[in-house]
Structures are given as structure tokens and as C-alpha cells.
Symmetry: C2
Subunit: 299 residues, 2 copies
Amino acid sequence: MHITVRQLQVFEAVARRLSYTRAAEELHLTQPAVSMQIKQLEGSVGMPLFEQMGKKIYLTQAGTAMLSHSRNIMQNLAAAAEEMNDLRGADSGRLRISIASTVNYFATQLLAVFAREHPSVEIILDVTNRESLLNRLEANVPDLVLMGKPPADMDLVSEPFMDNPLVMIAATDHPLASRKKIPIHDLANTGFLVRESGSGTRAAMERFFVEHDFSYKKGMELMGNEAVKQGVEAGLGLALVSIHTVEQELVLNRLVKLDIEGLPIMRRWYVAHRRGKRLSATAQAFREFVLEAGMKAST
Amino acid sequence: MHITVRQLQVFEAVARRLSYTRAAEELHLTQPAVSMQIKQLEGSVGMPLFEQMGKKIYLTQAGTAMLSHSRNIMQNLAAAAEEMNDLRGADSGRLRISIASTVNYFATQLLAVFAREHPSVEIILDVTNRESLLNRLEANVPDLVLMGKPPADMDLVSEPFMDNPLVMIAATDHPLASRKKIPIHDLANTGFLVRESGSGTRAAMERFFVEHDFSYKKGMELMGNEAVKQGVEAGLGLALVSIHTVEQELVLNRLVKLDIEGLPIMRRWYVAHRRGKRLSATAQAFREFVLEAGMKAST
DNA sequence: TTTATAGATAAGTTTATGTTTATCTATAAA
DNA sequence: TTTATAGATAAACATAAACTTATCTATAAA
């Protein structure tokens, strides 16, 4: 024997009105339908829940106890329904975002704006290197990721949302700082600071040099954007970096951008999630927010 | 929105095993049956509860929230079932007993023994006058009542459980104290202390005197047994009382019992409840306990 | 006594649930 | 590439649940 939600609904109505007939009216049922539901519930619990004395019915002790449980259960159901209702909108719940460290230079600002617009969304941000980010995607941890071009073999749904121009930077006092349209081959004798292998920036740079038949002179290999920038500022060589990583330094005149022919290399950033992922309304809202912010930034 | 217990059961199994097929095995169902239940639940909540990525399924955010509600609800159901189970036995719950004040002289002892034998039963005792007791019965407050012969017009189920002999008492120094087999007519000049009208003892006394063609001399009318007893002890007259009300006084020799021919009058005490009342197992156990205790006392 | 009301009961109908079987798609592993 | 596995989908069917209508019984009130 098993108790059903329907039985509890009917039971609650009868217990509240202390009448089968009134309960039936309230539930838009006939009286026999109510009798049956109560009978089944009584069968389930193995005891009478009501007692009839003359024309009046009363709850038995078991009935009184059952009523309190019943109300409890129905309250839980209502709470569940309410939470589900909230989650259907974009202004609640949890949003798990993982971003590749390179994207960090502006993603935090993006998130701040989104958080302000959706104050009751709990945002969980995770800034990590590309490999760890792909692991997290594999484990289905994040709702969405922001990263450079995602690998083709991982079955992701991805869309570019912002240009990521790679530019050549030099120390402020570099002799070519003020020249226009410098052919790349004029840099044959210059040393280049490069990112670690596995970096998307590094891969893009090498592709660019190959395309332009230019064999570059490798000055030093450094981990991360910050190290590269500091090396360039110290005059150790030139470097190709995302313009987003050096915006401040260019404004403060601590670095300069060289006007090389064929530059900037236009790469892009992507918002991505695993194929099959059921994005919450909140996640969808964030995805669209990111795409829209990218559109604005590129116009 | 129509969530069923069945849906929650199936959902919980799928969420726990993270597999439709395993859940189906566990529930002795086929896989399509599980798919359908989940689909219906998802329809009810208006959102996917699972997401499939490759061969693995994961709970969505809504699914995680739903699972916690679901477990809550099923726990409540289990708690309800457990309480109902307890109530089916005679060692739990509440026992409401109303007793007429005359019965109080020994009923408390009876209850004490029952309470010791059923320590987890919550006993609610209510000692009150006969009229108020009948009102409570009318309002369906007590499970059982202990009283003198219940009125025939109230549709009660009643059963006598103990003799209630009415005896004639006198002050210790009464001249007839040591005489045997006193004919009632020898008391023609003696004054009698009587209970208020409406008292069962008073009615029984008058019936006895009428039957024996004895017109008694009314000394004083007093409210309640205690007043009558004190009056007799003070030498204001004789009285007919339940022997249970004077057991202590007889032992302490503060009152004596006169050996009148035709006495004691044998009245009885009853355990009663309204017809139609669904007695709990506990109430039934108490009823039988009282009847059995009465049997023992009368042998 | 008659009448009205509350609930129980019985029979029959509709709807929901669960089943099997078969097929399809996608993915992971051999 | 082939094979095995997980789940979705569909059709056809059996069973059970939830109702309705009609009728019956007991009780309280007129």
C-alpha cells in the first residue's frame, strides 16, 4: 500500500472542513470520490482517520497525527514548486563560470556588471589555466567557460564574443617605436620574448611568422603574460601579446605598440559549454550578456 | 502542476544511481518506464532535471534542488508511516480519560498501574462532575469515561467493571454500632445526611427506602461525599455512601459501618464510550485493563 | 412520522500508469 | 571500423487509479 499526494490533498480538505461533502465541493469532486480516497489512505495507514458520531465526523488520534504530517508534506511540495519556479527565471540560482587566465584581464569587469544586474544570482568564478579548465569542463563543473579558441575534439558549443588582437609591444625607448608600417623582416635581428608552449598566444605568433616567411630569433621563453610584459619593459626584447593584457601599460606609456605590417593578428575569445549541457535560464542570460558585450566592444 | 510520490521515488533512484537503467533495475521496472516518469516530473517542474553528456547523465541545478526537496518529502512520508505504525500498537499516543468525581477514590490508583505498564502513553485525566462529564462526552473529548450507570438515552457503549456497594455509616460512638442485622425500621427516628439531588448515590438510597417501605427522616442535604462523611463523623446523622469513599475512615475507626438488613445496595461502576467511537489500541487496552482489574477486585 | 442530509456502497467508465517489443541515436570501448 | 551500451521514442496492450452515477442506510430535524 502506498500513500499518494492526491490522498493527502483530499484528506487535508476533509480534515479541515470536517465533512466529506464540503471537501468534495471544494475539490470539485463527488462525495463518493472523497470517500474512496479516504478509505484508501486509511487502508495505507492501517487505522481509521475519522470517526463518525451521528452526523458529525471527528479526526481520530491517528487522523490528527496524519494531518500534521500531511500539511508538512504539502508544504514541502509547495516549497519545491516555488523553488522550481524561481529557477525557471534568470534571477536566481547559481552560476558557475570558469575562465582561462588570459581572459581574466577583462572578464572580471564583465562579471561585475552582470552581478549588479542580477543581484540574487550566486556567481562562482574560477580562474585557472587552460588545461585545468578543460578538466573541469570534462567533469561538468562549470556552466560556461570563457577562453581562447576551444579545441575541436571536445564537443563543445562555442561562439566567439570578442576580438582579441595580438600586437607587438616594445620598451618605450625602442628605436622603431615611432616608425610606421614596419615590414616584419626589419625585425630579423631582434630577440623575441615568447610564452610557454601550449599557450594559444605562442601558437598564433608562430603561425603568423610562418605565414610571413619570417624565422624569428628567440630571446627568452616565459611563463604567463605578466612575465612577458615585464621582460619587454626591461628591454629584453619584443613580444606578441593580446592587446587586452597591456591596455594599462600603453596608457601609462610604460610600453609601446609597434606598427608592424600584417599586425594585429586577429584572434578571438569564445564563450563555450559542453554539448548536451542544459543551460539554466541564468546561464543563458549570462551567455547572451557576454555575446552582447562583445558586440558593443567591437563596434 | 501535479507531482506524484511515484515520480519522486523514481527520480530519487535515478539521481542516486545517475543512470536510468540502474534505477529501472532497482525499482523492478523497464528503462522506458523510468524515462517516462522522469519526463513527466520534468514536465511538472518545467525544466530538465538531468543533462546527458556522452553516456553519463548529471543532475542539473534544478535537479539538485529537486533532489533535496524530494528526499525531504520522502523522509516526511516515512516519518508519518512510522508514527502510524506506532499508533497501531497500544504503547504510544494519548489516552484521554474522564471520570466522575465519585469514581476518583480508586480510579487514580488504577491509572497509576496502567501508566506504569505503558510508560510512553500520555495520559490525560479529567475528574469532573457527572453533568460536565456528559458534556465532554457529547463533544467527543474523552476516549473513555468511568462513571456510575450511564444514562440510557445517550447512545453509549458501556460495561460494568466493578461493584460499588453502598453501605450505611455512622459515627464510631453510635449506639447501634455493634448490633447485627438491624432491621431498617429500627432507624425510624434517626436523621439521615443525604447527597444533593442528581447524585446517583442519593437516587439509589431513595429507591432502597421505597422498596423497603421505609420513610426516612431527612437530617441535612450536603454537596459531595466528603461533606457527608464529615457530617456523619461529627454525629449529625447516618448516611448511605459508596464503600470505596470510606475505606480509610473505617480502617482508622473514625466511622463505622452499620449492619442493616438488606444492605449493602449493590450498584456498579461502568467504563463507557460513545457508540461509533474508534478506540485507539491504547484506549482498548485501557478498557480491558479496567474490566480485568474490576474482575479481580470482585473475586 | 416524514423529510433532508451525510456518508457508504456498487457498478461502470475514463484516464493514467506501467509493460513489452522494436527501433533509433549517440557514444565509448574493443 | 565494429561492437556494446545508454537512453529516447513509438506502438500496442494490460492493469490500476480516479471518477461518476445511482442507490442505500442512518441520523437529525421538521
